[in-house]
Symmetry: C2
């Protein structure tokens, strides 16, 4: 049977600890060569876009894809189709608007588990949208967060974010008047913005402090930027969640790095390798996790939501597609 | 609102005349450069496959994709996601097991409308599965079919097909003991098989008669064959429904042609061009339509089914995906 899960259903089943563990497990599978992810397909024209991100998880008898469709002018939607691989039955159709944010946060949680200092408690957030919320939740799932400062250009939005974060985590959370003020002294900096190529970039390499762990999840298209090139120069360890080639193609942050930086970053570590082999950080090392998201993360997150929905009786059963072999 | 349409719903809305006209209209759009279809994506391993076929119909404010998933061992399913392009809202999720057969038949109907002799009334069918039914229906929508002979290796299946075809079209329909007997004297030959690379190929160039129009819709994977290479040598006009490159990649029939044949067929006509510019056949010319199916045909067919389902109140409304811009 196929389960239809709305955005409200996803919200009702959101459990960041399980999501972080599921994404960590799928990263192990990826490192073991059990996951196939062909390049994303993009069909775009006149401001509308259709993007398809398929994956096959051979070790889990799962396959599926996420589609992203619409336009920034009129509306964008995300759908994940979760499929049992061997017989092609669709397990779930999942609204992935919220889930995409949750899976990005979960991947950042995994990266932070391996890369950040063990006692990291002081977190700065640049950005106040969905990804700011979910990435803070991912970080808080793996580190003893005590203090949060947020900067976002809109005073109302940053105040609202501080209120939500303080309530959700039960910690001190304050809105800062500038990005520099927010990040000063932070153990972990989360950058989750939609800043573009004009005007100041959200986070500057000059602000980096020794021992800092930086999580950057915005700038996932070539025309967006949120880290200046100096961030990549100052980081002792850069970790991508996808192949360097993919990150170079998709993120304006990487397109902006110098030629020398590009050559160096072609050998940056990828998160599946970190998860499989562990990571030894020096106390003053600067670590930078740059995420563009992967279809394997999507499928892993959708499977967690599906399992929890089945456990709790959430969602709507909508029958199954016919087996085409019947004809 | 998103409409969920099951295979039974598709069956209830099946109208081959409307499907043929809709596919013809989308072929005009394709010839006008209004349609974007990136290459299909295939993820396959160990007998399981996930195939995604996206398209954007800029002139119709539609986009979408078909996915095909599962394995021949345990089950395969087809899903079409029909999307209003500008705001990304999913108009319909459509079980496409039957619909794939219908759209293939509709494309063959368009090809037959332009390529077959006007009075063609005598039809041979090789094959007795879903595609044999739907392609005969497509041909019958555009030509005054009076007589049908069918060959399929299994006597029960060919007899059953003859019974169905006679009932559906109100014509004489008989099962033939051999393929050669079925095709002798036919104005139109429909080849719709899953014959493979071993054993006899379903249709032989030696059987072609002057003036014949051949419709071949099987052999849509590299390891299947249903036309021998002589068919391509003897045809005066070969028309593909996709680019020659795609047909060469996907059909074992083309992989088997000689090098000289390949060079010639690289310049074969495509169906959108035939529809746009018309076609003058000599009375004794042999025409061969080789179809592998396209995502644009799928989207056009899904739109017909969606429109008819809305008109008749068929299907189930299942809400809409959240607009991700809301976050």
């Amino acid at each position: 049977m196929t389960l239809l899960l709305s955005d409200a259903d996803v919200r009702a089943t959101a459990d960041m600890t399980r999501l972080v563990d599921a994404v960590e497990a799928v990263l192990h599978e990826e490192n073991d060569g059990l996951i196939t992810m062909p390049p994303r397909v993009n069909v775009a024209s006149d401001g509308t876009v259709l993007r398809l991100m398929p994956a096959h998880l051979a070790g889990s008898n799962l396959m599926g894809y996420k589609s992203f469709h619409g336009s920034m002018a009129k509306g964008v939607r995300y759908l994940i189709v979760l499929i049992r691989a061997d017989d092609g039955e669709i397990l779930a159709l999942v609204d992935a608007a919220l889930l995409t944010g949750l899976r990005t946060g979960a991947a950042s949680g995994v990266a932070t588990r391996y890369l950040a200092r063990p006692g990291a408690a002081d977190v700065a957030v640049i950005g106040s949208g969905l990804e700011a919320d979910t990435n803070l939740a991912g970080v808080a799932a793996v580190r003893p967060v005590q203090r949060v400062r947020v900067f976002s250009p809109n005073p109302q939005r940053r105040a609202a974010f501080a209120g939500r974060a303080g309530d959700a985590l039960g910690v001190e959370a304050i809105a800062a008047a500038t990005a520099e003020e927010a990040v000063a002294g932070a153990d972990i900096v989360i950058v989750a913005t939609n800043t573009g190529t004009h005007g100041p970039v959200a986070y500057q390499g000059a602000w980096i402090e020794p021992g800092q762990h930086i999580v950057s999840v915005g700038a996932t298209s070539p025309f967006l930027r949120e880290l200046d090139p100096a961030c990549f120069d100052r980081a002792d360890h850069v970790v991508f969640d996808a192949t360097p080639e993919q990150v170079f193609d998709e993120s304006g942050d990487l397109i902006a790095v110098t030629d020398a930086g590009r050559d160096r970053l072609r050998h940056a570590t990828v998160l599946p390798s970190v998860v499989a082999h562990g990571f030894d950080r020096g106390a003053s090392d600067v670590t930078l996790f740059k995420s563009v998201g992967t279809a394997a993360q999507d499928i892993a997150a959708a499977k967690v939501v599906y399992d929890m929905a089945i456990e709790r009786g959430i969602g709507r059963q909508i029958g199954v597609l016919a087996d085409a072999k019947q004809f």
